[in-house]
């Protein structure tokens, strides 16, 4: 133990001296950066702009010398395979950052499960946290409350490059999830806005056989469902098909909203489970809106007519999608990536065995009240937090800027072809090859210490059509487009391109903050009530008017109070 402490002391002193060297070489300030930071916060931020050498530049490749070591946590996955003797701490990604920027990644923790247990034990036992952690939800709240992580306002102001700042300016709501008492406690990733956005996948061969067109509104959808259920679309003279694959067993109380086999389109702009702005600008809980009652009424009607599987309430997303890909159901709503798995794999298999399976993505039809709408993807899929003792925020933002460049297709991105030769691409006589990688393609994403976006450009940042739309229309000009085209199936690209067409109609949640006091106490109970009500109505165990009883119960059992608290919380952020 003593030996370890000594070692730690040595490491810390090295880190501190390194930061001094780094700070001096920039000529921005002299002295210990730890002492400078408070004064920087006191002085107005404009002082940074008056001092041109201090403004961080994009793609700045000045190397930290001696190198900066940052500790992190790695989530080990059984599918992670490194090649050529590489290790989590020594692989193409970590080598590039070490050799070009002088940033060394060390994994203090390797976890197999979610980080949660580990972090909580460390918090109670006083064990030191790694410098960087990716967290979300209640764990983030508890870390803020524990005081073990630092607020990053000053560091962000000082070290983030213009383009990185710009990405947050263009997505202002994103700070709300990490702002507590006016301070920012983490660096949220920004999603590309369509990761989870659903499109309508339809059995094209069934449509063609029955002489139908893809539905664009609820009446047409009704007709297609009827035909798919009763007119024997697979031509086997058995009444063994149904209309819509729906995975009602989600594990998180939202029977009509799943990551695949979802049915959020039916509710149009009145999306359940989200906090939705009403005409006066106040937030209302989506599940209590009138549009949801209409949507549930439609689902109840469909269930009674046999358009849904009798087992939908117990089917999870994968099982419901299996019904769709194996020819039992004719329509499924799922995000663009499902064009790879499970739809893409099923189509490939069907081609191999000469079976009919022709599936196409279509834009969502309008919902029951005539409006198009779906649940928007989360604005952020995780937040990086930094230990309170960590002083190397400059290195963090350099790492971040480099990878942010890759997300927005900067030609200077060092990983434009992929993350590692022999992993996700190979070079043949100077030509890049993305498909035929010996022993198969392996993704190195897990070994990124920080990952600012989910692969493609964050929302609202790049002008013009999105990369999926460009590739879908056949444009292959830059290396990013070529890589995307080569490493994704056509259905995936088409699926995402279709998802983008309707991004303007996505319904975001108006509230991403911490759980309010009453929420902590009552939310589980209210959610159970909600799930049971929805399922009972669709299954026909309760009349549709039971919905009104539910709304009353929901409000009486704490929902009203929660709505008030949520509105107050949102108002306090402004």
């Amino acid at each position: 133990m003593k030996g370890q402490r000594k070692l730690l002391a040595v490491i810390i002193s090295i880190l501190v001296s390194m930061s001094m060297v780094a700070a001096c070489s920039n000529g921005a300030n002299n002295g210990d950066p730890a002492e400078v930071q408070p004064s920087a916060s006191a002085s107005p931020t404009s002082s940074n702009q008056e001092d041109p050498p201090a403004a961080p530049q994009p793609n700045d490749r000045t190397k930290f010398d001696p190198p900066v070591t940052i500790t992190a946590a790695l989530q080990l996955k059984p599918s992670d395979k490194l090649r050529n003797g590489d290790t989590p701490e020594d692989n193409p990604i970590s080598r590039w950052f070490r050799d070009n920027l002088g940033i060394v990644t060390k994994y203090k923790w390797v976890v197999t499960d979610s980080l949660e247990t580990k972090v909580r034990l460390a918090m109670t036992s006083g064990e030191e946290l790694p410098d960087v952690l990716s967290v979300s939800g209640t764990l983030f709240e508890d870390l803020v409350a524990s005081g073990k992580i630092q607020s990053i306002d000053e560091a962000f102001e000082k070290y983030a490059t213009e383009r990185v700042k710009d990405s947050y300016i263009k997505n202002p709501e994103i700070w709300n999830s990490v702002k507590r008492d006016g301070k920012v406690y983490g660096l949220p990733t920004i999603s590309n806005g369509i990761v989870g956005a659903t499109v309508m996948w339809v059995r094209q061969d069934w449509l063609d056989k029955l002489g139908l067109k893809a539905p664009t509104n609820i009446a047409e959808f009704d007709a297609v469902m009827e035909a798919f259920t009763n007119q024997d679309p697979d031509g086997n003279n058995k009444n063994d098909t149904y209309g819509l694959a729906l995975g009602g067993n989600t594990g998180y109380y939202h029977p009509t909203s799943n990551y695949m086999a979802d049915t959020s389109f039916i509710f149009g702009q009145d999306q359940p489970y989200l906090w939705i702005k009403d005409a006066s600008g106040n937030l209302q809980y989506g599940s209590t809106l009138a549009g949801v009652k209409d949507g549930l009424g439609k689902l109840k009607d469909w269930f009674a007519k046999g358009y849904l599987s009798p087992d939908f309430g117990t089917q999870d997303a994968a099982k419901a999608m299996a019904d769709f890909t194996s020819g039992k159901a004719g329509i499924a709503f799922a995000p663009g990536w499902s064009g790879g798995w499970p739809i893409g794999t099923a189509v490939a298999e069907a081609e191999k065995t000469n079976q009919a399976l022709d599936i196409k993505p279509y834009p969502l039809p309008a919902g029951v009240n005539g409006e198009v709408g779906r649940q928007a993807s989360l604005p952020s899929y995780g937040t990086y937090v930094f230990s309170k003792d960590f002083t190397q925020m400059e290195a963090i933002f350099k790492y971040w800027d480099t990878l942010y460049g890759c997300a927005i297709e900067d030609p200077k991105c060092p990983f434009d072809k992929g993350y590692g030769e022999g992993y996700d691409y190979v070079l043949n006589d100077g030509k890049t090859e993305w498909k035929d990688v010996p022993d198969g393609i392996v993704s190195l994403n897990a070994y990124l210490m920080l990952s600012p976006s989910s692969g493609t450009s964050p929302t609202n940042v790049m002008e013009g059509p999105n990369i999926y739309q460009r590739v879908a229309s056949g444009q292959l000009d830059n290396v990013f487009e070529q890589k995307l085209a080569a490493s994704n199936g056509k259905l995936t690209i088409d699926g995402f391109a279709v998802a983008y067409e309707q991004i303007a109609q996505d319904v975001p949640s108006g509230f991403y903050g911490a759980n309010t006091a009453t929420m902590k106490e009552k939310w589980d109970q209210l959610s159970t009530l909600e799930e049971q009500t929805f399922l009972q109505i669709i299954y026909g165990k309760q009349p549709l008017d039971y919905f009104d009883t539910f709304v009353k119960q929901w409000n009486d059992q704490g929902g009203k109070q929660i709505t008030k608290e949520v509105n107050e919380a949102v108002a306090s952020l402004k």
Binding site: L76, P78, V111, D113, Y259, A322, W341
Partner: protein, 292 residues
């Protein structure tokens, strides 16, 4: 031999039927996992496979055996099981031997007995135990998986009862011939108690092979995680609400064949131990419980 009565035969038949059903209930899931592990990825993700592989392929096993993480985890599990069981059995025997002596012979036995029994009734709980392990500097070492569970009081009590069933005369005869306690324990008691030692060893082995939680909280490095922890992560999957566009996430969602292969390889070693120890098994339990 008497011809069995009708009712007797009926009992025999229904007994066989009932036990066959129970046996099937135990073995069918194993067969299903085996079938899934031998099927093509498409068939498994479409939930087509029941008890016979569809699209037979050994891909999953090839992948599993090429996966470094898996092999390392396997090694850690073997190490902890072997050393954990050896240490555990040694300590259990030493404790049980002394505790099997009565109070006249071993002064203060009651105090020791209470000391052991106390831990059966009250234990530290998660966080205090974690703190002890951490402050003892055991984090990230194989000892963290072995030492905290080295003495199972229940096993000590079983073993103690078994030792008490051994005739005193044997021990006295050995003592007259000049044998000390260690010699009596290892050359007289040990061979006689083989059935119960084998039984308890099996319990301990299965325990070590299956426990995953300690591996998750005490081990921070990739090369120290035991197989059970690794498999637990594999089965538990991830939070669907947080699904991102990460190809490796999607890959792990769709690799049911690989998961099944890993599970099957993971359960195999401990299954193989059973037949070798079974002959002691029945004898061991009953012998240990009542005999005076």
């Amino acid at each position: 031999m008497l011809k069995p009565k009708i009712s007797n035969r009926l009992f025999q038949y229904s007994n066989h039927v009932f036990l066959s059903i129970v046996a099937l209930l135990c073995i069918l899931p194993m067969i299903h996992v085996l079938a899934v592990s031998l099927s093509s990825n498409y068939a498994t993700t479409s939930f087509l496979v029941k008890l016979w592989p569809i699209g037979f392929t050994l891909d999953a096993y090839e992948k599993a055996l090429n996966s470094n993480n898996f092999l390392i985890a396997f090694r850690v599990s073997v190490l902890r099981t072997v050393f954990g069981t050896l240490l555990s059995m040694t300590l259990t025997m030493l404790a049980a031997y002394s505790m099997s002596k009565d109070n006249r012979y071993f002064r203060g036995r009651t105090v020791y007995a209470w000391f052991f029994v106390f831990t059966m009734l009250f234990h530290g709980g998660l966080i205090p135990t974690y703190l002890v392990v951490q402050k003892a500097g055991l984090m990230n070492s194989l000892w963290a998986l072995i030492l905290p569970v080295a003495v199972n009081v229940f096993n000590v009590v079983l073993m103690m009862n078994f030792f008490r069933g051994i005739p005193k005369e044997l021990e006295e005869a050995a003592a007259i011939d000049g044998a000390g306690h260690f010699r009596i324990l290892f050359t007289i008691f040990f061979p006689i108690s083989l059935p119960s030692i084998a039984t308890l060893s099996l319990f301990t082995m299965v325990f070590h092979w299956n426990s995953w939680f300690d591996g998750m909280i005490y081990m921070n490095q990739a090369n120290q995680i035991p197989l059970a922890t690794f498999l637990q992560a594999l089965i538990a999957g991830f939070d669907y609400t947080q699904i991102g566009l990460n190809p490796s996430d999607l890959e792990s969602l769709s690799e049911r064949s690989l998961k099944s292969a890993l599970i099957f390889i993971g359960t195999l070693p401990i299954l193989l131990v059973y037949p070798f120890l079974q002959k002691y098994f029945v004898k061991g339990m009953t012998l240990g419980s009542v005999k005076e």
